[in-house]
Amino acid sequence: MAQALEGVKVLDLGNYIAGPYAAMLLGDQGAEVIKVERPEGDPYRKVPGFIALNRGKRSITVDLKRKQGQQIAQELAKRGDILIHNFRPGVAQELGVDYETLSRLNPRLIYCAITGYGEKGPYRDKLGWEPLVASLAGAYTDQPSSDGSPTFLVLPLASYFAAFLAAFSSVMALYIREITGRGQAIEMPLLNALTVAEASTLVDFEEVIRPQWAPQGPLPLYRLYQGGDGQWFCLGVGNYAFFTKFALALGHEEWFSDPLFEGAPWMILPPRSYEVQRMLKQIFATKTRDEWLEFLRSHDIPCAPARRIDEFLDDPQLKINEMVIALEDPHVGRVRQMGIPLKLSLTPGKVKGPSPLLGQHTQEILSELGYPPDKLSKLREGKVI
């Protein structure tokens, strides 16, 4: 076994981000992923990000609104191990790919439905798109703008977290299937994924204190600052040992007994925090950002420059971590993209190839299912495939 998921067959009925990304994470670890697309394709194909989330898959186009199309999907499910979709509630039934139908055909199937909000409760039937989920999960309120109003977040956090947890749950079900011989249904709502990814804040007991946030961070020792050249960096004094190093490095031993710094690094609360922030702003204005980074690093104090994502792509550490790979895409050429964020020593991951063209493998996959050429051309004429 060269790869963890060698021989595991995954059906990716997903669209946009969460479903396809989960299936890709499985594909990178050796699973054989078939992307089942509607005739007009995954709508995410219009976005460059499509290339990054569908690599290594084979694509078959099938019209699941037609009986014959549903039959093809069911035949694939019969031979499959894991199915992932992110349809709205009820759509899988309409398309003949619901768990009840498919588990009758294949009791070993692991069926992972990525929904918006879960099976119960008042939000159940809401449109499960990222911004609505994020709004309800408090993600926008939790990141206040300068006037305290909620901020729209550019990263689709719920979709990404759901993809990770769907991959986690699917392989957990695969592991338990080794013991019980049976598959099961998994529901992974986006709302749940985003909510548990704030487990450390979503806690409530009698004495809970919720500090106020600010756009560049509220904690004077753990926030963004500018060097004298106007460039930004993050100071990350995250424990008392680092605070000690920081004060000594700057020659401010008196801070250890200064009531202003009481509770350092985390519990310097307003109004003291404003005063400390003001002091540090003045100090950091005396040298350029890069001078400060060099100085802080030489004293083992956590810090990092604020960079753009295109600068991040060239990061030397990412090269060593093999987190940037290049694949040839038939439309746009050489595409640099994410490597595999998980290194397994015995069964390492491997990127199989670029994202497929729409329906690139329809014929190949149907031939594997035993469809003879004349039947294939009929299905094609009838626009089922």
């Binding site: 990000g49 408090g138 992974m188 806690v203 560049q216 990092a304 991040f312």
Partner: protein, 387 residues
């Protein structure tokens, strides 16, 4: 039956990435033993952050840096399946508690490592917290926008991502072990997770046009996909995904005139005149309280959602109905309400076994399981090797 029945995890980790990973495993039935120094995981100071990522675990307080403590630890490892740690590389080698050394005690051990930056390379010895990968990876600049101050994101997403990815890695390794009886070393880092958190944007090809639409006061993507403020000061999100919804929105606002307005009558026109449309909609929405707007929009089938606060979520009927927030009793704090279990598995559901432990709450119990006598335990306690 629970998915991870009979699986024991030794958890040496601190902060969020490691502890949240092992909490995901605990929720699914694993026996997670949190190994803390005698004075406790330093992250305990964080109060609620600690509680949120450590429930369902047992705690043993032991000084693994001292010889007898190291011995307890090795015994524990010999009875375990998975080990999770998130320190800078090299720390465990010095103590003989690295993967190679522990493999000799437990050949099929699954060793999960979550360093901040990786195990070799220019940054690996740098101390790391979520804030650093966040700014290094471009997330702060993307949110703040080019030419504006970067925005420090409150949620440590990269820590959570690393936790989820390592939990996925643990399952892959467990599945492989079930098939072929071998353990392995699994690594992800916070910086790698920061890449995975931007997978769609983390691409680059010749001639690619990269858009930076961030702003510290960003409210949405466009007028019909945006947060709005109601009369009562509460914010909510409105999202039109097609023309029918746009028409319904105009009707709800009593602004049918917008449908024939040459500035707005096609999606392309609306995009060209986005600012003007934002002004009109923001002005219209300021006329009624949020609850009224949400009810009207729902009725007209315009997708919308309130922008909830943490305190509202903790009382929200939907969260309660789905057990997405749950209550349990904590030995010192009383009733604690926190997040439930994310993934719902039909045959092997998760369960919250116990609240986050107090330091060393299960030291005796675990040592007795390992075969230590009451006398030995008292002796170790007197020497302050355990607490």
């Amino acid at each position: 039956m629970y998915a991870l029945d009979g699986i024991r995890v030794v958890d040496l980790s601190t902060m969020i990435a490691g502890p949240f990973c092992t909490m995901l495993l605990a929720d699914m039935g694993a026996d997670v033993i949190k190994v803390e120094p005698p004075d406790g995981d330093p992250w305990r100071q964080m109060g609620l952050a600690f509680l949120g990522a450590n429930r369902g675990k047992r705690s043993i307080a032991v000084d693994v840096r001292r010889e007898e403590g190291g011995e307890i630890f090795r015994k524990l490892v010999s009875t375990s399946d998975i080990l999770v740690e998130n320190f800078r590389p090299g720390i465990w080698q010095k103590l003989g508690l690295d993967y190679q050394s522990l493999c000799r005690i437990k050949p099929d051990l699954i060793y999960i490592s979550i360093p901040a930056f990786g195990s070799t390379g220019p940054y690996v010895m740098l101390p790391g917290y979520d804030g650093l990968p966040q700014v290094l990876s471009g997330q702060s600049v993307s949110q703040g926008g080019i030419g504006n101050p970067p925005v420090f994101l409150k949620r440590p997403s990269n820590d959570y991502a690393a936790a989820m990815l390592s939990a996925y890695g643990a399952m892959l390794a467990l599945y492989v072990r079930a098939k072929q009886g071998k353990g392995q070393y699994v690594e992800t880092s916070i910086i790698d997770a920061a890449v995975a958190m931007q997978a769609s944007d983390f691409i680059d090809y010749p001639g690619m046009q990269r858009q930076f639409r961030g702003d510290a006061d960003l409210k949405g993507v466009k007028a019909t996909c945006r947060l709005y403020k109601a009369q009562d000061g509460r914010w909510f999100f409105v999202l039109c995904t097609n023309e029918a919804q746009w028409r319904a929105l105009a009707q709800v606002l009593g602004r049918d005139d917008l449908l024939n307005d040459p500035r707005f009558h096609t999606p392309q026109k609306r995009e060209e005149n986005d600012e003007a449309l934002v002004d009109i909609l923001a002005n219209a929405f300021s006329a009624k309280p949020a609850q009224q707007w949400l009810a009207l929009l729902e009725e007209a089938a315009v997708p919308c959602a309130p922008s909830l606060t943490v305190d509202e979520i903790l009382k929200d009927p939907h969260y309660l109905a789905n057990e997405l927030v749950v209550d349990h009793d904590h030995p010192t704090l009383g009733r604690v309400r926190q997040t439930g279990i994310g993934p719902k598995l039909s045959q092997t559901p998760g369960r919250i076994w116990r609240p986050a432990p107090v330091v060393g709450q299960h030291t005796n119990e675990i040592l007795i399981e390992l075969g230590y006598s009451e006398e030995q335990i008292a002796d170790l306690r007197a020497k302050r090797i355990i607490a």
